[in-house]
C-alpha cells in the first residue's frame, strides 16, 4: 500500500523551511501569546468553543493559501505524492485527529513549540509518536 519512491535528501532547503516554521511560531507567541500548534489551532478555529477563534481561523486560511502563493511565485506546481489507498487515508486521518486532540498536540505543538520550551511532557509525546510512527512504517513496508 505505501508509496515507496525515493525522495532527495535536502538538508539546506529543509533547514530554511524549518527556520520559517520557527519564525511563524515566534510570531504567534509575540502577537497572540499562544502556542503555534496546528491541532490546537484547528480545534480552536471555530467560534463556538473560544472567544479568540478568529486569528486561528485566519491562520488555517494562511496554511491553505501557502501552496497557491508558492505556485504563483515560482510558476511551477508544488509536487507531492499522497498515498492513494483511500480507506487507509481515512483511517490515518481518524488516528491523527483523535490522537492530536487526546494527546494535546502534534508535530508543531509538542514537536517544535514544546521542545523549544524544554517541556518534558512534550518530549515524552514526541518520543512516543515518533516511536509508533517508525514502527507503523516498518510494519507496513517491511513486514506486511
Amino acid at each position: 500500500m505505501p508509496i515507496e519512491i525515493a525522495t532527495p535528501f535536502t538538508p539546506i532547503a529543509s533547514t530554511i523551511g524549518g527556520i520559517m516554521i520557527g519564525l511563524s511560531a515566534v510570531l504567534v507567541m509575540a502577537l497572540f501569546g499562544r502556542i503555534a500548534g496546528i491541532s490546537g489551532i484547528t480545534t480552536g478555529a471555530l467560534p463556538m468553543r473560544r472567544d479568540d477563534w478568529s486569528w486561528r481561523f485566519a491562520f488555517v486560511a494562511g496554511l491553505i493559501a501557502a501552496p497557491l502563493l508558492v505556485q504563483a511565485v515560482t510558476g511551477s506546481p508544488v509536487v507531492q505524492t499522497v498515498p492513494g489507498n483511500l480507506a487507509a487515508m481515512a483511517l490515518a486521518g481518524l488516528f491523527v485527529g483523535f490522537g492530536t486532540v487526546k494527546g494535546a498536540g502534534c508535530t508543531s505543538g509538542h514537536g517544535v513549540c514544546g521542545l523549544a520550551r524544554l517541556s518534558g511532557r512534550s518530549l515524552a509525546a514526541v518520543t512516543i509518536f515518533m516511536a509508533t510512527a517508525f514502527a507503523t512504517v516498518f510494519i507496513l513496508r517491511h513486514i506486511l
Binding site: 515507496e4 501557502a66 489507498n85 483511500l86
Partner: protein, 144 residues
C-alpha cells in the same frame, strides 16, 4: 489586525512546510522508513524550527505581554498522563500510515489529491470525537 497577522503567520508556516519539503507525504514517510528509502530531511526541519523557536520565545518573553493580546498562555502541565501517552501513540500510527500531520494536511488541501480529500475530513472527525470525549470526561469529573 489579529486576522491579518494570523493569516500571515499561517502563510509563513505553510510556505515553510513547502520549502522544507514537508508538504510531500512521500518525504515524511521516507524519514520514518529508516530501513528502506530513508530521507533524513525531516530532522533538519525540526532542528531548524525548534532552535529558531527556542531563541525567539526567549526574546519575546522579555516583554510583559504579547503585542495584541493581554497575556501569554503557555501550557504549565508537566505530568505525563494516560491521555498524552494514548493520544501521542495514536497520532504516530496515523502519521505513519498517511504521512500527514495536521499542518501539511491543510497545506495540501488546494492541491486536492484524492488521499488528502479523504484524510482531512477524517482528521476533523477524529478531532471532534476526541473533543466530545474530553468534554464528557471533564463534565463527569466536575459533577462528581
Amino acid at each position: 489586525m489579529g486576522i491579518v497577522f494570523g493569516f500571515l503567520a499561517g502563510l509563513l508556516f505553510g510556505v515553510g512546510l513547502i520549502v522544507a519539503g514537508m508538504s510531500d507525504p512521500a518525504k515524511v514517510l521516507n524519514f520514518l522508513d529508516v530501513f528502506g528509502s530513508f530521507d533524513p530531511s525531516l530532522a533538519f526541519v525540526m532542528g531548524g524550527a525548534a532552535i529558531t523557536t527556542f531563541v525567539g520565545y526567549r526574546l519575546v518573553w522579555l516583554r510583559e505581554k504579547p503585542l495584541l493580546f493581554s497575556d501569554f498562555q503557555i501550557p504549565r502541565r508537566s505530568d505525563i498522563d494516560s491521555d498524552l501517552v494514548i493520544g501521542a501513540a495514536a497520532f504516530g500510527v496515523g502519521w505513519g500510515i498517511g504521512g500527514f500531520c495536521p499542518g501539511p494536511a491543510w497545506t495540501a488541501l488546494p492541491l486536492s489529491a484524492p488521499g488528502t480529500l479523504v484524510f482531512l475530513p477524517a482528521m476533523l472527525a477524529g478531532m471532534a470525537l476526541a473533543t466530545v470525549m474530553k468534554d464528557r470526561k471533564t463534565g463527569l469529573a466536575s459533577s462528581s
